[in-house]
Amino acid sequence: MHRGLLTYLLRRLLLAAVLVFAVASAALVLVEAAPGDAVDGFDLDPAVAAAERHRLGLDRPFLVRYRDWVSRAVRLDLGESVKYGRPVGQLIGERAKKTALLGSTALLVATLVGLPLGVFTGSRRNAATAVAGALSLILVSVPPLVTSFVLLVLAARTGWFPVGGFPASGDATSLATTMTYLALPALALALPVAATLERLQSQAIREALEEPSVRAALARGCSVGRVTWRHAFRLSLKPVLAIYGVIVGGLLSGSFAVEIVTSWPGLGALMYEGLVSRDLYLVAGCAAAGSIFLALGILLSDVALALADPRTGGAA
């Protein structure tokens, strides 16, 4: 194992840990600073509310509570949600899985559609590629908030997919059921990303085809298809992979909108519920989980970028 890579990874992980902690703390402070607290939402008798605050420890000074939260958080105990009356860690575990499923499915679909289509539109010019290019230029401008709306209308009119939501029985549901419920939100999230990837890949392959190495391969008499898919595609991967770190951030944002519109029980929806009910520890936990997703996504895309770079030749 290369020591350089190991220390690099360790440093990145350490930085990410610090960042996650900072995000969670910031979220905690911000929600604390907001007027009202979690007990207000229940519309209780003042005496009962005071007792409830005492039971939850909300009457203690913020700094004391923050210290307690930190000392528990390092042991991965994120506190208890007032709204749900359950440990935050457990809640996040359930919901983060749904967001990860949604995001990774969308990314996979977008990659499988966007990259080949981009190679196709970038390597030749005819009516079909012009139409595909124009279509994805439009699709790039349609955010997940809008695609999920449009798909919902489509689903309601045609009855092809369940109109949002997720079966309540949770983990007991079969793969097939999960897939049918996943189809609409995942497609809503994937469409703009697929269009983005198509545009980038198209541009990248066009530039790669001008490279001397690719010209040389053509001059040697390699077939155009082989040169496009083997030589130029490899060259074009670098600018495309570089975008993946950013796309993960976009997916997280887009996923929030999609989750709310289609009632997909994910992390973003959970964070929103926590915010509205002033559920301190729930919000902090969700913010932490969100930044873990983002840090992980950026790290993975950096590693993929290093592996795809011909100069490191996959040995990095």
């Binding site: 230029l137 401008s141 709306f149 449009v150 980038l200 975008i243 964070m271 915010l275 969100g290």
Partner: protein
């Protein structure tokens, strides 16, 4: 065969034209209709859009008019055009460019009416002002803060540079939606319209500034050592003057590109926040709060004209993407994380 260059040029032109059209609509929109955005017409709940016509039933051409709507079923919100009642369109009357006289029968809803019988066009016009206003204000804020921070970092170098750029890196690595939500949630849930406006501008600018800052820093750091900057220093110009008068103008092109990335991202951010109920609230129309209304129950299926704000969001992004000659689209870097 049309060349690539000319196709790109016409795409840019189309984008600019679309952007200008949206801007004009934001400014002049409220005069397109005689109704106010909060005005309710109980008899016109979910009234469909009413198309202006120039030919009547008998195929005869006449001055532009609309048919009055007759409520056929109040329960199902079913309307039919009353072919017998012709309402002529009047120019510059009733405080609008085009309108029908209230005495002619039913009110005219060019884009239909919503669940409370409010004129969708009036709401869209006012909403466009708010939504574009928030996005432009936040973009301006992010650019100004970014230019100051980036300029300072690039000009000063050393510890200041290191510190400011690490701070920018941290903000960029934050999950933007979650931070915007948390920042917004630090304010009371119910705010007045102008409070919402400025809260959103500040929150979005706070998340967006690092993107321009990084680029401006790179430009300023590179330009600082060029001869013209040296010359300015040699004749005794102050640091502020060199930075503002000589170095920042070099980053102008970069800042324009940043604007095209930030504005669509912020339009979407406003829409998302208002959509989930953390932005503009009833009865104030913005693209997001109108979409929130449209999303209730089965209304987008039964009354698709309520999705007009979604079309507006798409058109605003399309205008920028076309005008910027976007190969790298606005949903991608660097503003993609700005929600």
């Amino acid at each position: 065969m049309i060349g690539r260059a000319s196709r790109e040029r016409s795409a840019r032109r189309a984008g600019v034209a679309l952007g200008l059209a949206l801007g004009t609509f934001a400014i002049a929109g409220p005069w397109l209709t005689s109704h106010r955005p909060a005005e309710q017409f109980p008899d016109s709940v979910y009234a469909p859009p009413m198309r202006p016509r120039v030919r009547d039933e008998s195929g005869r051409f006449r001055m532009p008019f609309v048919y009055a709507l007759r409520l056929e079923s109040r329960l199902e919100h079913r309307f039919v055009e009353d072919r017998g009642r012709i309402m002529p369109l009047r120019l510059f009357r009733n405080g609008a460019i085009l309108s029908v006289d209230p005495t002619d029968g039913s009110p005219w809803f060019p884009l239909g009416a919503d669940a409370l019988g409010r004129d969708q066009l009036a709401r869209l016009a006012w909403g466009t002002r708010l939504s574009l206003g928030v996005a432009l204000g936040a973009a301006l804020g992010a650019l100004v803060v970014g230019a100051i921070v980036g300029g300072l970092a690039g000009y000063a170098g050393g510890v200041i540079d290191e510190g400011l750029m690490r701070a920018a890196d941290v903000v960029i690595a934050l999950p933007a939606v979650y931070m915007v939500l948390a920042l917004r949630a630090a304010m009371p849930l119910v705010l007045t319209t102008s409070e919402v406006f400025w809260t959103m501008v500040v929150v979005l600018a706070a998340v967006g500034w690092p993107f321009p800052a990084r680029g401006v820093r790179a430009v300023v750091a590179a330009e600082r050592v060029r001869e013209y900057a040296e010359a300015a220093r040699a004749i005794g110009a102050s640091g502020t003057r060199i930075l503002l008068g000589h170095l920042l103008p070099a980053a102008r092109g970069f800042l324009v590109v940043q604007t095209t990335l930030l504005v669509p991202a912020f339009v979407l951010a406003e829409a998302t926040l208002s959509f989930v109920g953390l932005g503009f609230a009833e009865p104030i129309p913005s693209w997001g709060s109108m979409l929130r209304d449209a999303g209730r129950g089965r209304t987008p299926v039964d009354a698709p004209w309520l999705l007009a704000p979604a079309a507006a969001i798409v058109l605003s992004a399309l205008a920028v993407n076309l005008a910027a000659g976007a190969v790298v689209p606005s949903t991608a870097p660097p503003a993609g994380r700005g929600l």
